[in-house]
């Protein structure tokens, strides 16, 4: 089961290593990870997706809290969040297939950000499902490269 954990940390050298080290040491797998400073540059937010059962996630959160540089941890409820991932997909596209690909891209409200003779680069943001659906449709054309950011998420409404 995938869980999204949002961690506020002090923006200091070595903090990310301490967090990722904790996961490997305790035997948990990180599915994805995104890091960046918050509005307050002294604080960074790390958004982690982990595949673990409920009990393990509780233990992960407790262990994370023990790290001195960790300020706050939230386990995000999938039903009550906006989640996004940004993916760049380089796909084969010649004069015959380009039109079809552009149509698909439009349906998904994705963007074409680079056009070359034999390839296109498509940028899509959205939930993992949306990204996966596009990926499935583009695969027959030949995906040459796929680069994704980790998932980021925000709780809906005024709660934070």
């Amino acid at each position: 089961m995938n869980h999204i954990i949002s961690v506020l940390v002090e923006n200091k050298a070595g903090v990310l290593a301490k967090i990722s080290g904790l996961f490997s040491r305790r035997g948990y797998n990180i599915e994805s990870l995104a890091v960046g400073p918050t509005d307050d540059e002294r604080i960074s937010r790390i958004t982690l997706v982990v595949d673990a059962d409920e009990r393990s996630v509780e233990q992960i959160i407790k262990q994370l809290y023990k790290l001195i540089n960790v300020i706050k941890i939230q386990k995000l409820e999938p039903s009550n969040i906006v989640e996004r991932e940004l993916v760049l997909i380089k796909v084969n596209a010649d004069s015959k297939t380009r039109g079809e690909i552009v149509e698909i891209v439009n349906v998904f409200r994705a963007n074409i950000v680079d056009v070359a003779k034999k390839t296109l680069i498509i940028e899509i943001t959205g939930s993992s499902q949306k990204v996966k659906a596009l990926q499935d449709l583009l695969r027959p054309f030949g995906i040459l490269e796929l680069v994704r950011t980790g998932k980021i998420a925000c709780t809906r409404g005024s709660k934070y």
Partner: protein, 564 residues
């Protein structure tokens, strides 16, 4: 504005933290620090191997309750500390390790004697610092001591590049130690405590399970008051020994793999465990699914991550053991006033019967020197008033089983990591911290050889510890497992007659006594205690003696192997 060097700043900060002794070993990247140390009144004990500086700081911390300090140079000096740091981490012992590092400009270049020590020790420390700006130096030191000694204590390492040690800094720089992400909970949740009191009042067959956290928190007295008022028997972990007097009728001693059979049976039969500052380690629980099948659990611990980690908990209470037990006793007293408490005489009678039926024992009639006999004699002749350190293996278990611990901080043993070679340096640290006490290392012939160079440290600094060597010619605990579970194939565990330990200690300037007959045991211990020097008594004990009772690895603790 007067300026001092970074090295002088380190000394100044250490003094502010009340440090009066440090254990360490110099090298290229701490020469400035050692130069500043030369002028200071901090006592520096020069060990002979950095691992032992960490162990000595650890032993000092366990004996005194203060934070121990150790120092090493960069690279190999720092990596030599690792075992000692990991050991302190497993047993929640406050130490601050200071290491030298290559110049800032050299970091990351594989410079001579560079090691990424903060990276290496991150998994085995509570926190680490790599100081990259001299202004951070006093902050790091102040925070390090705070973090090491509060909440669930543990080791903190501060890595200080050598060019920071020589850089100048304003002596009176203001230090702000704002730690946003660090606020250990001290006071327990009152509603949980009330629920716990009621649960305990209704329990017919409760036990208290007391661990190292009780000693760290200074909760031993209140624990005793509570246990006696509520009439609840007390089981300890190895780390909890000394938190409740083992001479008390309510004491069931230590549970687990080599615990008392009566403690293990009491766990198996009880209906409620009140666990305090203890983490249900696998050496205690045996097969988890069969551990204490009829028991509900109240778990008091300052580390929320320990609660529910291994076993299911009914009432968790996060906070400091002493604070919580004080509140809990108050709530429980109310239950007594309202006459809501169960009568426990039947349970206490049952527990008493278990104690009578399954005492710890050994072949007392044997003419050989039984290790248990030696430990019993040490107990008798010290009046139970010594600080006992142990090595790891059979010697450790006999020291735990046959000496009765009645006060906190009187047993110093490597619990979580099980580090052979811990006892000798730890006893050095303990004696430095408690010079008023008799400090004894109950040792094994294998373990002591991992650290025997520290006899030099002890003798040259007149740290007059007594080593009682249970010399069985084997890596005994491993041999015991080979005997029980590997068809007596003693692969690489026989170390018989490899060393003349009397000559060895004499070579270092200490005193050695050899004991080969049972009748000599008592006199040798008396003599060792009376000599004003480091003494090693080489007891040639029964070679193939085993530690009983024993729970086979992975088995239920209700099912113990006993001697025939």
């Amino acid at each position: 504005m007067s300026k001092i060097t970074g090295a002088q700043m380190i000394i100044k900060c250490l003094k502010e933290e009340g440090v009066d002794v440090a254990f360490g070993y110099p090298g290229g990247k701490v020469i400035p620090l050692y130069d500043a140390l030369f002028d200071s009144d901090i006592r520096h004990i020069l060990v002979r191997h950095e691992q032992c500086a960490a162990h000595a700081a650890d032993g000092y911390a366990r004996a005194t309750g203060k934070t121990g300090v150790c120092i090493a140079t960069s690279g190999p000096g720092a990596t030599n500390l690792v075992t000692g740091i990991a050991n302190a981490n497993m047993d929640s012992i406050p130490i601050v390790a200071i290491t030298g590092q290559v110049e800032r400009s050299q970091i990351g270049t594989d410079a001579f004697q560079e090691a990424d020590i903060t990276g290496i020790v991150t998994p085995v420390t509570k926190h680490t610092y790599l100081v990259k700006d001299i202004k951070e130096l006093p902050v790091a030191i102040k925070q390090a001591f705070l973090i090491a000694s509060t909440g669930r204590p543990g080791p903190v390492l501060i890595d200080i590049p050598v060019d920071i040690q020589t850089e100048l800094i304003d002596e009176n720089i203001k230090v702000d130690i704002n730690l946003t992400g660090y606020k250990p909970t001290v006071k327990g949740h009152l509603k949980q405590i009330k629920d716990a009191a009621k649960k305990i009042a209704r329990s017919k067959k409760p036990v208290i399970f007391s661990g190292g956290g009780v000693i760290i928190s200074g909760a031993s007295e209140i624990l005793q008051e509570f246990a006696r008022t509520a009439r609840i028997p007390v089981i300890t972990s190895l780390m909890g020994k000394g938190s409740f007097p083992e001479t008390d009728p309510l004491s069931l001693g230590m549970a687990g793999m080599h615990g008392t059979k009566y403690a293990n049976l009491a766990f198996t039969e009880c209906d409620l465990i009140i666990a305090v500052g203890v983490r249900f380690d696998d050496r205690i629980t045996g097969k988890l699914s069969e551990f204490a099948p009829g028991a509900e659990v109240i778990h008091i611990d300052i580390d929320p991550a320990e609660i529910g980690k291994n076993i299911k908990v009914l009432i968790p209470i996060v906070g400091d053991a002493k604070t919580i037990l004080t509140d809990l006793k108050e709530e429980y007293d109310k239950c007594i006033e309202k006459k809501e408490t169960q009568d426990r005489e039947e349970w206490l009678a049952r527990v008493k019967k278990l104690k009578e039926d399954f005492p710890l024992t050994y072949d007392r009639k044997s003419n050989k020197i039984k290790p248990a006999y030696v430990v019993e004699k040490i107990y008798e002749l010290t009046g139970g008033d010594a600080i006992i350190c142990t090595e790891v293996g059979q010697n450790q278990m006999w020291a735990a089983q046959f000496y009765k611990y009645t006060k906190p901080r009187t047993l110093i043993s490597s619990g979580g990591l099980g580090t052979m070679g811990f006892g000798l340096p730890a006893s050095i640290g303990a004696k430095v911290g408690r010079p008023d006490k008799t400090v004894i290392d109950i040792a094994g012939d294998g373990s002591i050889q991992m650290v025997s160079q520290e006899f030099a440290t002890a003798v040259s600094n007149k740290i007059n510890i007594k080593v009682m060597l249970l010399n069985n010619g084997y890596l005994g605990m491993v041999r015991q497992w080979q005997e029980f579970f590997w068809n007596k194939r003693y692969s690489n565990t026989c170390i018989k007659e490899s060393v003349d330990f009397v000559k060895l200690i004499e070579a270092y300037g200490g005193v050695g006594l050899r004991v080969t007959k049972k009748e000599e045991v008592e006199d040798a211990i008396k003599k060792a205690l009376s000599i004003d020097n480091v003494v090693l008594v080489d007891f040639h004990v029964d070679c193939e003696e085993n530690v009983y009772p024993m729970v086979a690895p992975g088995a239920s603790i209700s099912n113990m192997l006993e001697s025939v």
